[in-house]
Every structure is written in structure tokens, then in C-alpha cells.
């Protein structure tokens, strides 16, 4: 189901019903039962996704894929700015249409029901966008100091996210300075100690964290930490350390579930 198609249907005030039936048929598994925001997607959702054709994703499906990826990934994934802008634009256009139709006195009762369904759907899409942004935001706060020192990660963030990361890193540094460091002897008042046998002072994403990777297509062999190779065919789901599938996730060959 294409967004624009749906928009046109709604704008015409006409056969929107078909779109909902069709959407229901093509819909991704319902996320209502997910234990948000921490729980992983329930396993029952997986077989359903296996039947999804890998090609021709609608923007909503793309958004949902990026959203589940982001939620399951220990690292920060590249920002999907274009997709988000498109979806938000679409929501804006659609809410304008809805507004127009609602104010139109000639809109029938039947159409009002459809408008309500469209509005509910919009709220649900907004929920996913919000959850996606907040998930990224949580990681940015957590790794703010790491982000400010690592140019590669910065390329994966939007300008707004970058700004917030550096602001937050500053706020936290200042806070720690005021609470602790300024009272310590000068020799101890640094945040970048590199003592032996002690973990780094900068929290970094743990890329060795295991993730469930679902191959959306046949993948080239993955080298596992013990030296063996794993070849994932389309539809396979494996539990692997994140760093082994990192590139596949970025390229969209693998999704995290």
C-alpha cells in the first residue's frame, strides 16, 4: 500500500475502504502486545515477517524496519532523515485533508468513520516515529562523550542530534566538575585518565552484544569470533554478536529482530 495512493483515495473521499482492507492484509504484525520500551519483539512476530517480500517496501514498512533495528542495536545506526521527512510531510498533508473533510458539512456518517480510522492510523505512525527518535535520543545521551570524540559516529547523526550530543556532553562534564572534580587535588581533576587495567572513562557502545539477526536476503558468509564462518540464507535468524553483522544491518541485508 502506497502512501500517496492512500492519500489520493482519502482526498477523493471515495474508496478508502479498500485501502484499509488491503492494509490490514499487508500489515506488519501488530505491535500492541510488545512490552515497550525495553522488550524485544515477541518471537511470534517473526514467521509473519518471513513471508514479507524483501523488495518494494512501503515507507511505513521501512520505518518499522529501521525502528526495530534501532531498538535492538547496541550502536547508533545511520539516521533515516529523508524517510522521516517524507513520512512527516505525508502526515501533515493527510491531517490537513482530514481537517478539510471534517469541516465539510456534506461529509457523510460513513465517511466520518473512515476519517476516524485514518486519524487513528496517523496517531499510530506518529507513535512509531516518536519511539524511533526517542530510542536514538536515549543512546545519544548515553554515549554523548563518545560521540563528541568520534567523527565516524557523528556522520550517522542528524544535525540536531549532533548538537544535542555535544551540548549534553558539556552539561555532564560541567556537572561532574562541579560535584567532584573541582574539589579534588588538581592532579586528579581530569576526565580522561587512562589508567592500566581500568575500563575507559568514556562509555562506548558494546558491539559484542548478541543480537537476533534476520536475513532479508542471502548474505555473504559472516566470520564469527571463534573463526568459523556462517552463511545466512534468506529468512534465517541467528543469534550473533552485533559487530559481525554490523555492515549487513547498515546495508539493509539483515534486520535485527
Amino acid at each position: 500500500m502506497d502512501w500517496d495512493e492512500e492519500y489520493d483515495l482519502l482526498a477523493a473521499g471515495g474508496a478508502a475502504e479498500r485501502s484499509f482492507v488491503e492494509r490490514a492484509r499487508n500489515a506488519l504484525p501488530d505491535d500492541d502486545d510488545l512490552d515497550m520500551p525495553h522488550g524485544p519483539p515477541r518471537p511470534a512476530a517473526v514467521p509473519f515477517q518471513l513471508q514479507q517480500p524483501a523488495e518494494e517496501e512501503t515507507p511505513l514498512q521501512q520505518l518499522m524496519r529501521h525502528w526495530t533495528n534501532e531498538r535492538n542495536c547496541p550502536d547508533i545506526l545511520p539516521a533515516q532523515e529523508e524517510l522521516l521527512v517524507n513520512i512527516l510531510d505525508h502526515i501533515r498533508r493527510q491531517s490537513q485533508t482530514v481537517q478539510l473533510l471534517r469541516e465539510d458539512a456534506s461529509t457523510s456518517e460513513d465517511e466520518h468513520v473512515r476519517i476516524m480510522l485514518a486519524q487513528t492510523e496517523m496517531e499510530r505512525v506518529k507513535f512509531i516515529v516518536r519511539s524511533y527518535i526517542r530510542t536514538r535520543h536515549y543512546k545519544i545521551d548515553r554515549y554523548a562523550r563518545f560521540i563528541t570524540t568520534n567523527a565516524e559516529v557523528q556522520t550517522r547523526l542528524t544535525a540536531g542530534e549532533r548538537d544535542h550530543a555535544s551540548r549534553y556532553a558539556n552539561i555532564l562534564d560541567r556537572h561532574l566538575y562541579k560535584c567532584v572534580l573541582q574539589s579534588l587535588p588538581p592532579a586528579q581533576a581530569h576526565l580522561d585518565d587512562t589508567a592500566a587495567f581500568v575500563p575507559s572513562m568514556i562509555t562506548q557502545p558494546d558491539k559484542t552484544r548478541p543480537v537476533f539477526a534476520h536475513a532479508r536476503q542471502d548474505c555473504p558468509p559472516i566470520r564469527l569470533p571463534d573463526g568459523t564462518a556462517l552463511e545466512m540464507q534468506k529468512g534465517h535468524i541467528s543469534l550473533v554478536p552485533y559487530h559481525t553483522v554490523e555492515q549487513f544491518v547498515v546495508r539493509g541485508e539483515v534486520e535485527l529482530v
Binding site: M36, T120, E123, F127, V180, L184, P185, A187
Partner: protein, 198 residues
């Protein structure tokens, strides 16, 4: 040091407090006294280390012991404060970024150090900046715990919250009353505990 105490014992207490805070899922009162005594211990250790560091030759074992204690104490101090800021951030998001709501809560405020209040204010300012990047269509502060199932919600007013603009016009929410309103209009009030879903 006057008392017979192992190096780093106080720091262990401090970290234990963080641990307890995680286990009980509460923010404990900022332990100013303990933080101060650890900082005092740090200064004493530094004084003890200085003459040893001036000695010629390879570092003496005593110096290594002291340095290790210093590093450990410092990490514990930082861990304690970072743990608290993490909790503060979670708390901030749990009420949908309503900072006045947090600060008006006297019981909670009593548990924060003045620096932590400043921290929350600065964090809030940064989030507001970040939020303004998004259009009016999307309020990133709204709840993300339950996906919406209905457009409207039946709510009960738990605390007076005055006139609120909704789809149906301005409504004066008074304690004890019930309304059927658009969820998006009052979501933040549910999060902040003014309204309850029936």
C-alpha cells in the same frame, strides 16, 4: 588518616548506594556527607603520595598502592554521580519533560543536590532546543509506552488542572469529573498524573 580504615572503603559504600538505588528503582537522597569524606580521603592520599613520587628510582610499592586507591575512589565518585544523572534523565522522560512538575515535588527535590537541579535545568534547555527541530505535528515528548489504539480516551480528573484547550473547545478539568477527549490533546496530562484513564 585518623581512623583505621582500608583505602576505598567509603567509595565502596557510595557505589553500594547506587546499586541499592537501582535495585529498589528509587532515587536515594544525595549523600553529600559521604561524597565529602571521600574527597577528603583523596586529598590525604594525594598528600601521602607526593613525597613518594619525588623519590629516585622505580616507583616504590607504597606509591602504587596509593595511586590505585586514588584512581578507584575517583571512579567510584564519578560512577555515583553519573548513575544519578542517568536516573534523573529517566525521571525527566517519564513525566514527559515536565520539569516544573519534578521540581515542584518537594519530597523529590529534597533528595537532589543543588547541582543536580542545575543539571536538570540545563538538560531541559537542551531538549527543548532539540524538540524545536520537529514540526508541530509530532510531539517527541509524548508517551512511548503504549501505542495508541483509539483516538479518544475516557479520563478521570485526579487533580485540578484548569482550562485546557482540546478539540471540543476549552474544557475546565476539575477533580472527580470524567471526560471523553482526544488522546493527543491530553496525553501529557496523563503522563504527569493529572488525569487517569478509566
Amino acid at each position: 588518616m585518623s581512623e583505621a580504615r582500608q583505602y576505598g572503603e567509603l567509595a565502596t559504600q557510595l557505589v553500594l548506594e547506587s546499586r541499592r538505588s537501582t535495585q529498589t528503582d528509587t532515587l536515594l537522597k544525595y549523600n553529600d556527607a559521604l561524597v565529602r569524606s571521600i574527597i577528603r580521603e583523596q586529598r590525604d592520599l594525594e598528600k601521602a603520595a607526593e613525597p613518594l613520587a619525588l623519590l629516585d628510582g622505580p616507583p616504590v610499592p607504597a606509591l602504587i598502592v596509593i595511586e590505585t586507591a586514588i584512581n578507584r575512589n575517583k571512579r567510584c565518585l564519578l560512577a555515583y554521580h553519573t548513575h544519578r544523572t542517568d536516573r534523573l534523565r529517566d525521571m525527566y522522560w517519564a513525566v514527559g519533560g515536565a520539569l516544573p512538575h519534578i521540581l515542584a515535588n518537594q519530597e523529590l527535590r529534597g533528595r537532589l543536590s543543588p547541582h543536580e537541579v542545575d543539571f536538570l535545568r540545563e538538560y531541559h534547555a537542551s531538549i527543548m532546543d532539540f524538540r524545536s527541530d520537529f514540526s508541530d505535528e509530532l510531539d517527541i515528548m509524548a508517551s512511548i509506552t503504549q501505542p495508541p489504539k483509539d483516538l479518544h480516551a475516557l479520563v478521570k480528573v485526579v487533580r485540578d488542572c484548569g482550562w485546557i484547550q482540546t478539540e471540543l473547545g476549552n474544557i475546565n478539568f476539575k477533580k472527580g469529573e470524567r471526560f471523553m477527549v482526544r488522546r493527543a490533546d491530553i496525553e501529557h496530562l496523563i503522563v504527569q498524573g493529572y488525569l487517569e484513564e478509566v
